[in-house]
């Protein structure tokens, strides 16, 4: 029951933060950004044309009123219309979000599949050749620019070999979708794989020297049982936390990956909207990102409380 209260408390805490974020982004965009109407119509537009567009888009009203409309809209899920694309923002978000979510989850999955066994081996054979190799690879992966790796993969597997599409999103069915996502997901997962491998390696190396592992062995249980219930089980705590934290980070990386591979997700939408000075979209996206990240953090905390019985509320 304590846990439920804790979850509710955390959800309630998110609301004020989102509120502050919405104020910040709304007013900052308006103050420092420059007039959207003028930017849409271009430098040669007449004053009256600009004025007309302003009225049409509701930009002539006082800022506070505009903000209030925005705020009200959030609850009704009506976020206004995209200034450049002439469609409802909420429609845009609904259409684009699944792509980014699928990309992020696919990347995380790839990262986990590779980092678990490799990280375990590196930790078990600490300081041996295998360990040093993995640690070096980790460093290299973290230091490489993701857009470069993405481009290279696209050149090699997309253009030269033709195994995978060189960008673009084929929505036809799950298979084609996965095919569109594979190269981007590999690109995005590299850094995470490296971080997870390093964490698993450190955990395994440390935990293997813990007294409780030796005590467990002293009972005569099989090595596989020691591995599963004692080493892995305890290593999972920091591993799972790291995955969750980095999923939030990967949402940020989606901006770059989606641009490189021309995927219609919210990352690319963000970039396009910024270039088009499409404030309606940008402010909604910022709120969306903030909300997603805080949701992921909440899930992280909840997962953690299940994994580690020592945590209290």
């Amino acid at each position: 029951m304590n846990r439920l209260n804790y979850i509710i408390k955390r959800i309630l805490q998110i609301i004020p933060v989102l509120f502050v974020v919405s104020i910040l982004i709304f007013f900052l965009l308006r103050f420092i950004g420059g007039d959207p109407a003028r930017l849409i119509l271009g430098d040669k537009a007449t004053k009256s044309a600009i004025k007309a567009l302003q009225i049409k888009l509701g930009l002539d009203q006082p800022l506070i009123t505009q903000y209030w409309i925005f705020l009200k809209g959030i609850f009704k899920l009506d976020l206004g219309d995209s200034l450049s694309l002439q469609v409802a923002v909420s429609y845009l978000l609904k259409q684009r979000m699944p792509v980014t979510i699928k990309l992020t989850l696919f990347s995380a999955l790839l990262a986990i599949i590779f980092s678990l066994p490799l990280g375990y081996l590196a930790g078990k054979y600490k300081d041996h050749v295998w360990d040093h190799t993995i640690r070096t690879l980790t460093l290299v992966f973290i230091s490489m620019p993701s857009f470069w790796v993405g481009l290279l993969l696209m050149i090699l597997f997309g253009v030269k070999l033709g195994w995978f599409p060189a960008g673009g999103w084929d929505e036809t069915n799950l298979f084609t979708q996965l095919r569109s996502l594979l190269l981007p997901a590999i690109t995005e997962s590299l850094a995470l794989t490296a971080l997870l491998m390093r964490d698993m390696r450190n955990s395994v190396a440390d935990i293997s020297q813990m007294d409780y592992v030796y005590f467990a062995k002293s009972k005569g249980i099989k090595q596989s049982a020691v591995r599963k219930h004692h080493i892995f089980r305890n290593a999972l705590i920091s591993y799972v936390t790291l995955v969750s934290i980095n999923i939030a980070y990967m949402l940020g990386g989606s901006v770059i990956i989606e641009t490189v591979f021309a995927l219609p997700g919210i990352g690319k939408l963000m970039i396009d909207s910024i270039f088009n000075r499409d404030y309606q979209v940008v402010q909604s996206l910022v709120l969306l990102f903030a909300g997603l990240v805080m949701l992921v953090n909440l899930i992280t905390d909840i997962l953690y409380s299940f994994l580690d019985p020592r945590v209290s509320y």
């Binding site: 460093l139 230091s143 490489m144 620019p145 470069w148 050149i155 901006v255 963000m270 970039i271 910024i274």
Partner: protein, 288 residues
């Protein structure tokens, strides 16, 4: 088993210890790479005699050859030369993108951690709100508000970067605050300022510096990403991310425009990462 024993004993006699830092190959390699990077940034002219901005359409889109080591771009500019001259931009983004946050964030963390109270609460609340965003998104959002250009890249990096250092230093200060070492200094009547500067700072700074080493990579890559997206450094400046963006249009046949700038980014990123990683190890060992 007798074999293991004699093997161990003979190996024991052969060893003669080197100074700590020289023993770590990662540190040496990292240092060498970074020094090369700095050299190229400072003296690109020493390694090439061509002009990074000179347009020569006749020589456009040439494959790597003896005259143009890394080939040419769509305007006939020598890629190799452009990369060399671009080094200073990327290095600056990495180093100066970290330096200001390190100093400002560190000071904020010192004060917040030591004095606590309202200042601490306010600072931490701000951090809580802003840290709700991934680093890249925050930078992009700030760029969207401020507009493109290298000056804004730095401002964005500074506005976002200080938070990690404040959290780090604040945490270390709060841990150190209660050690006997600091209590003793207080009892001896040292002023707060003196305690902060002479006693706390040297102890908490090591973890911040280590973090800074890997943060340099992050700032450099983020700055390059911004240029790649068209938000950061604008062409014709030969920043590596911008060149990569250029190369996208010719990706199917002029692969050299894509390969080499990224290679340099990766290589130098690895150099700083190696440095940061081995610094962590060295400092950990020294603290023992």
């Amino acid at each position: 088993m007798i074999n293991i024993k004699t093997k161990i004993e003979t190996r024991d006699k052969k060893r003669k210890p080197l100074p700590d830092w020289m023993q770590k190959p990662t540190f040496v390699v990292g240092l060498v790479i970074v020094i090369m990077f700095v050299f190229i940034a400072l003296f690109p002219g020493a390694l090439t005699n061509q002009d990074p901005l000179e347009i020569n359409v006749a020589e456009a889109l040439q494959k790597p050859n003896s005259h143009h080591l890394f080939g040419t771009d769509e305007y006939g500019r020598d890629i190799y030369t452009r990369i060399l001259y671009g080094a200073r931009i990327d290095l600056a983004m990495g180093v100066f993108g970290v330096l200001i946050p390190l100093v400002i964030g560190g000071i904020l963390g010192l004060i917040a951690g030591y004095y606590g109270g309202l200042f601490d609460t306010i600072v931490m609340r701000i951090i809580d709100v802003l840290m709700a965003f991934p680093f890249t998104i925050l930078v992009i959002v700030i760029m969207s508000i401020l507009g493109a250009g290298i000056r804004n890249v730095f401002i964005a990096l500074w506005l976002v970067g200080w938070m990690s250092y404040t959290r780090l230093v604040r945490g270390e200060v709060m841990k150190a605050k209660n050690t006997e070492y600091i209590q003793a200094a207080k009892v001896e009547g040292f002023t707060d300022k003196r305690i902060l500067l002479r006693h706390l700072l040297p102890n908490v700074i090591s973890s911040a510096v280590v973090f800074a080493a890997s943060d340099v990579v992050l700032c450099m890559l983020t700055g390059a990403s911004m240029s790649f997206l068209g938000l950061g450094v604008q062409l014709p400046a030969p920043e590596w991310g911008a060149i990569l963006n250029e190369g996208r249009s010719y990706i199917s046949y002029a692969w050299w425009i894509t390969l080499f700038p990224g290679l340099f980014l990766a290589f130098n990123g690895v150099g700083f990462s190696l440095l940061g990683d081995s610094l962590t190890d060295l400092l950990r060992r020294k603290g023992r």
